[in-house]
Symmetry: C2
Amino acid sequence: MFRALAQEKRLQVLSWLKAPAAHFPPQVDGDLIRDGVCVLRIAEKLGVKQPTATRHLQILADAGLVTATRIGKWTFFKRNETAIGRLKSELIEKM
Amino acid sequence: MFRALAQEKRLQVLSWLKAPAAHFPPQVDGDLIRDGVCVLRIAEKLGVKQPTATRHLQILADAGLVTATRIGKWTFFKRNETAIGRLKSELIEKM
DNA sequence: TACAAATATAGCAATATAACTATATGAAAA
DNA sequence: TTTTCATATAGTTATATTGCTATATTTGTA
């Protein structure tokens, strides 16, 4: 989990996803809030290519910090607040 | 800071230093609690050579998680609870 | 002053990470 | 069914990290 957060870009994504509508343009398919943000939008905003963004998002997902939802040809990512909450208390005791 | 914690060995050290007396033998010079634990003891317990332990401890120190105290020829490391407390609340809001 | 002990630094090898391009896969549209 | 679009995977390269050994530095002691 700390490894997942040990990268400015991933911290950045996690922060943007707190308020998707404030950081990403409206989406035609897939609601920003309910479903999450599409990979290409995140890649653009991060300033990296799509495969790189996908990799970062997989790392965040493996750590349980975000969840992926595939709708049609899009994959949307959003924060997993439940897991993040659990991880917060866990790391509080670990530190 | 997350990078400093993104390594099992450094997390381990930070955890041991919560209760130095429970994890390290008594020291002749430098009190375990007041001054901290000597580098060689930490290296032994980690199962790495002294320069490697020194490097890990420097990384923890750079992140502000521990402080070094030189007494004579020994350098003792202990947790910086004040800084750790600040970092905790900071990361809580960052996540 | 010379020597010994503890730690710090330099330099190197192995591995991990992050970026890219090229390509494969999955799903919708023509 | 072919094409197209979005994402995933494979493979490569550059850089960062982690470990080591050798050596320098700092400090106490003979």
